[in-house]
């Protein structure tokens, strides 16, 4: 009897979370789906009509979509390569016996806690500005022409800023994983005469594979939705050179008021994110059983 009671109580306690998330996820998503089949502009309300897949056709054949899709891939891929490479390096380094390791870890971790608008504006103005920025001063000092970051290499500049924000996350996760490595394995490898490189490639790296996968998937989820960094630095420009899919949909929906087109774009973004999500869920699901 007590168990039936506590079971129904348990269900009752789950209800608020489940109901809220269900409403939060299903209702707006259905509305987006519905809007995506309408010719609906906020500037001419009351004229909505059903136009089938026309919004999708326009969105998917728009050159801006291809450019921002490609930019999204470059942004996500670039940041992943930099943060994983740097993260593994940092994790191995911080795992060594060093003086003041805790202080170094605090410094390395700090950028993760800086809000995106602050980090983007600090990098844009104080470091990357072609006239008054620190990089420009440095370039002048060694006698080369300063780079005009956001005019010449807008997407790469954003990749650099976002990598700086996410490197701490990758390093911290990987460091946590490295520290759970069985030290006896390494000692045994030492006795067998393994060098530092074979130890890294045959023992450390395989041990990290799980954490590396986790970093890739979690970062991808967040990186697909990069928004603030683009808004306050380039506003997606010049042209569409630094526009990603999230930013493209934002401009279509809230700057051009094209609800139908923006919704079609939103559904496309959901489908892209789902492909990534399936892999992430498998990884975490496996962990739940263990």
């Amino acid at each position: 009897m007590a168990t039936t009671n506590s079971r129904s109580l348990a269900r009752l306690m789950l209800l608020p979370s489940v109901a809220l998330l269900l409403v939060w996820m299903i209702v707006p998503l259905c509305m987006t789906l519905y809007f995506s089949f309408l010719d609906y502009n906020l500037l001419s309300p009351g004229n909505e009509e059903f136009i089938g897949f026309l919004n999708y056709e326009f969105f998917l054949t728009d050159p801006a979509f291809f450019e921002s899709f490609f930019n999204t891939l470059l942004l996500v891929g670039g940041v992943l390569v930099i943060t994983l490479g740097g993260g593994i390096g940092l994790a191995v380094l911080l795992d060594q016996a060093i003086w003041g390791r805790n202080y170094v870890r605090i410094m390395v971790l700090a950028p993760f806690f800086v809000m995106p608008t602050v980090s983007a504006l600090v990098w844009k103005n104080m470091l990357m500005n072609p006239v008054n920025g620190l990089f420009a001063h440095f370039a002048n000092w060694i006698g080369v022409t300063p780079v005009d970051f956001f005019a010449q290499i807008p997407l790469l500049s954003i990749i650099i800023i976002v990598s700086w924000q996410w490197l701490p996350f990758a390093a911290l996760i990987l460091l946590t994983a490295i520290q759970s490595l069985d030290r006896e394995q390494l000692e045994a490898a030492d006795l067998d005469g393994a060098g530092p490189f074979s130890k890294f490639f045959y023992i450390v790296l395989p041990h990290l594979s799980r954490a590396v996968t986790a970093v890739i998937l979690i970062e991808t989820i967040f990186l697909l939705s990069i928004f603030a960094e683009i808004l306050v630095t380039t506003s997606g420009g010049p042209g569409y050179e630094s526009t990603n899919i999230t930013y493209l949909i934002y401009t279509q929906s809230l700057l051009q008021f094209d609800v139908g087109g923006g919704s079609a774009g939103g559904i496309v973004a959901v489908i892209i994110a789902n492909i990534v999500a399936i892999f992430l869920m498998r990884l975490i699901g496996k962990n739940l059983e263990g």
Binding site: L9, S17, L29, T32, I98, M115, T176, L231, G262, G266
Partner: protein
């Protein structure tokens, strides 16, 4: 010999780690230092790290010329409000999943996780229109609701992993002694789980404080938290590096300090238990 060698490599690694750590931290350090410079010194072509006339005028300027404290207060209300509201909803759910496991528990957890993966642009327009129609645009209440919902899955997950570590025997013993469910939660479970709950609160305050999609889109002058206030510096007028630095410093220092306390929870919370 051996000791000498290992000391030598320790010295090299230490030097390397401090150099790289210093470089990564430098943009933050530079912001803090620039916030104490005059505007002229802030853009000087021979910038100085410490040798300049330290001044507090930028802080005074930011505080007097803009409603800085309004935005600061908005940030506090939104991040703390959504975290506490989230806890109230998430604790019962996590409790029931951790202690009354059913066949569906795992699927339910995975489903909650999947809502976190929904890209915000997928629901941007409906949320915007619903907020407009209900008068929630540019209100703190509206943002508290959104922040609670987007962080709810992380909260349930984090609490679940903490609650799972509490041995069931303790709860059973209290039930044998005749404790009601309410007593069980408030007198037995909560005291043991308090560190985990505090960590969950801390991480979610940080995440909500720094959230910069919904806060930028759903707010204007009234409910804008610091993320949106700082974004207004993207269209500057005149000299503003030192003032940008001062405003930024005030926005990030409180959360940096909180963040350093939450290093371990960060790994657990953001990897959804995949890395412990």
């Amino acid at each position: 010999m051996a000791i000498n060698n290992s000391n030598k490599s320790k010295l090299i690694y230490t030097f390397l780690a401090w150099t790289i750590g210093g470089l990564i931290f430098f943009p933050i350090l530079w912001t803090l230092i620039t916030s104490f410079k005059t505007e002229a010194e802030a853009i000087s072509s021979s910038p100085s790290l410490f040798m300049f006339d330290w001044t507090l005028e930028n802080y005074a300027d930011v505080l007097s010329r803009s409603p800085y404290f309004t935005h600061f207060w908005n940030s506090i209300v939104i991040s703390l409000g959504s975290s506490i509201l989230g806890l109230l909803i998430a604790i019962p759910a996590a409790w029931s999943m951790a202690f009354v496991q059913t066949k569906r528990t795992k699927n339910l957890l995975m489903w909650m996780l999947s809502t976190k993966m929904l890209p915000p642009v997928g629901v941007l327009i409906p949320i915007y229109l619903v907020f407009r129609d209900f008068g929630l645009l540019d209100t703190k209440l509206g943002l508290v609701i959104v922040m609670t919902l987007i962080n709810l899955p992380i909260m349930v997950w984090m609490l679940y992993t903490y609650f799972r570590e509490i041995p069931n025997e303790i709860l059973e013993a209290s039930r044998m002694d005749g404790a009601t469910i309410g007593e069980e939660i408030f007198h037995v479970l909560l005291p043991i789980a308090l560190p985990g709950i505090a960590s969950t609160l801390l991480l979610n305050v940080i995440l909500a404080w720094n959230e910069a999609f919904w806060t930028l889109i759903l707010t204007a002058a009234n409910a804008a938290p610091l993320t949106a206030f700082i974004a207004s510096y993207s269209s500057p007028e005149g000299l503003f590096y030192a003032k940008l630095s001062a405003a930024s410093a005030m926005a990030i220092v409180p959360i940096l300090i909180l963040g350093w306390f939450s290093q371990k929870q960060l790994v657990r919370g953001l990897s959804f238990g995949a890395v412990k």
